[in-house]
Amino acid sequence: MSRVLDIEGLTVGFETGGRRFDAVREVDLALDGGEVLALVGESGSGKSVTALAVMGLLPEVAEITAGTIRFEDRDLARLGEAEMAAVRGARIGLIFQEPMTSLNPTMRVGPQVAEVLRLHKRAGAAAARRAVEELFALVRIPDPAARYDDFPHQMSGGMRQRVVIALALACRPALLIADEPTTALDVTTQAQILELFRDLQREIGQATILITHDLAVVAETAHRVAVMYAGRIVEESASEALFAGALHPYTRGLLRSIPVVRTGPAAGHPRRLVEIPGTVPPPWDLPQGCAFAPRCPRASARCRAERPPLMPFDGGRRAACWHPHVEREDAA
């Protein structure tokens, strides 16, 4: 499989309220064609900022201060606004968390999707309409021709999110970034949208970065998982390996906090959510050593003094921990 995206040493600096801090630090991520990479971590760990940096949509108070984002033979970190606009929507599709607000409330949904085709594919009005109806059928919107003229408020949250997915996939991008695409939906709709995701992944075969803090979603959808904590990647591995036995104590903590819905007699009684004690430190006030040390059951004096780098483990896994749940292969 060919390499689609290669992020190296990405660092994003913010300057707000007289404070300067890095919300994303030295992130390395690579993605092959057709691969689904899940980016997980608690709120504030830098997942969305990473995605926005790739899209060139960082807020005005933020900028990429170091690193490269290689995508289709170009470094997106150094692309001008006009060139970046030509990539957005055409080569990289983006899906946001909020299906209720991410469509323009005063515009019919069909034309909102057609717009992206007319912009990048120079499609005429009739051709664009036909293409949008096909896209609506692709994302399983019933009666696409009729729904074309609906306003967003006439659709349910799940239907709107399908429209947004159609929008993101309209130009057949090489890369799709979905930032918590199901969080705002009810459980049943969530399951339907995820199933649609998996089907489309198989049919279209684009590479996908799926951002979520729900590890249950990851297990069913992603090939590979990268775990972020306080702006850094702390563990990365194939999904099965991660669920079979995570290396980093933080990942183990996250896994314990998955609510498991039981089947059988106890169905409907999800297991109690076990939260990791403590909170994520703000990016402007990180401890000297490992950022997770203050909350970590395995933390030692070394953890508090020295930050562990991301180290390779067997099976192509990587983790940034002095006391991982497995002995390092190359450790003496």
């Binding site: 949509l57 055409a90 323009n104």
Partner: protein, 306 residues
């Protein structure tokens, strides 16, 4: 939509009745003898009494009130001392001039106020924004007749560019409509700026950017529609204020509208004329509000099917 229109139209006569009632009793409470005013300054006591009987002013208050209300609803607005008879035809003859002036002021507001607000918002906190915001504060701080006087002093007297009074041709409309609209332009510019800044932060703008649209296109194709909804409401609500402002501005530039006529009525102590004009103002205001509501439903799809 038809049902909505019907409901609103039905309420107008009731509001009008209320206004007629209030005005009737206010003018009854005003000191002075209306019969003496109607008979004229040189009238003898006998002539005054004769006028009183002729105008029905000798009847009990309730009878006078009922007669007045019935009269108004068939178009008889009473005895105007200025016109020596029913003032209604004279009032209606002046309505087009006021509509022309108010229409020009609203057009100016839309053409200047909204673009100024958008320009300020898209240059948020940079110099064009600061310049526009300072102008807005300046315009809001001074009364519109003073702006009218400045415009006349410079554009007309000093430089001789435009006529300063009367309604001869479209050029004569420039100074009074600018003076009338100045505050409203400032108000709309300020509100539009705030609304655009707020809209630009919304998720649908982010979605449009993720599509690869450029900022200018997003502003025109996506943001503008959403900005129009509150802006039309503001302009509509302020139109009543515009009618009020026209009273002074019409007098200032000798514009032959009903505002000018109202001042004539007041200085002549012509109760029937003042009552009639006030009623026309109120009904006009109600109709404008109705138009605004229809427009609002038209541009806001969330209400169109409601």
């Amino acid at each position: 939509m038809i049902r909505f229109l019907g409901q609103r139209l039905v309420t107008i006569p009731f509001v009008a009745l209320g206004v007629v009632t209030i005005l009737f009793f206010i003018f009854k409470a005003v000191p002075g003898d209306p019969a003496a005013l109607a008979a004229g300054a040189t009238a003898t006591q006998a002539e005054i009494e004769a006028t009183r009987v002729r105008l029905g002013l000798d009847q009990p208050l309730v009878v006078q009130y009922v007669n007045h209300v019935l009269g108004v609803f068939v178009g008889d607005f009473g005895y105007s001392t200025t016109f020596r008879g029913n003032p209604l035809p004279h009032i209606l003859a002046r309505v087009p001039a006021t509509l022309e002036l108010a229409g020009a002021a609203i057009a100016l507001t839309i053409l200047v106020g909204i673009p100024a607000g958008i320009a300020a918002a898209s240059a948020h906190n940079r110099w064009p924004d600061v310049a526009i915001s300072l102008t807005v504060i300046g315009l809001l701080a001074v009364p519109n007749f003073w702006i009218g006087m400045l415009l006349i002093a410079f554009l007309s007297v000093q430089w001789g560019l435009l006529p300063s009074f009367g309604n001869a041709g479209p050029l004569a409309l420039v100074i009074p409509s600018l003076a009338l609209a100045a505050r409203l332009i400032a108000l709309v510019a300020r509100m539009t700026r705030g609304i655009v800044i707020e809209e630009l932060r919304k998720d649908y703008v982010r979605t449009a950017r993720a599509k690869g649209m450029r900022r200018g296109a997003i502003l025109v194709r996506h943001v503008l529609r959403n900005v129009m909804i509150p802006t039309v409401t503001i302009i509509g609500l302020q139109t009543g204020y515009l009618l009020g402002g026209s009273v002074v501005i019409e007098r200032l530039s000798a514009w032959p509208g009903i505002g000018d006529l109202l001042l004539t009525g007041v200085s002549n102590r012509d109760f029937a004329l003042v009552q009639g004009i006030t009623l026309v103002f109120v009904v006009g205001f109600l109709l404008i509000n109705l138009i605004v509501e229809v427009l609002y439903r038209f541009i806001n799809p969330r209400l169109r099917y409601a």
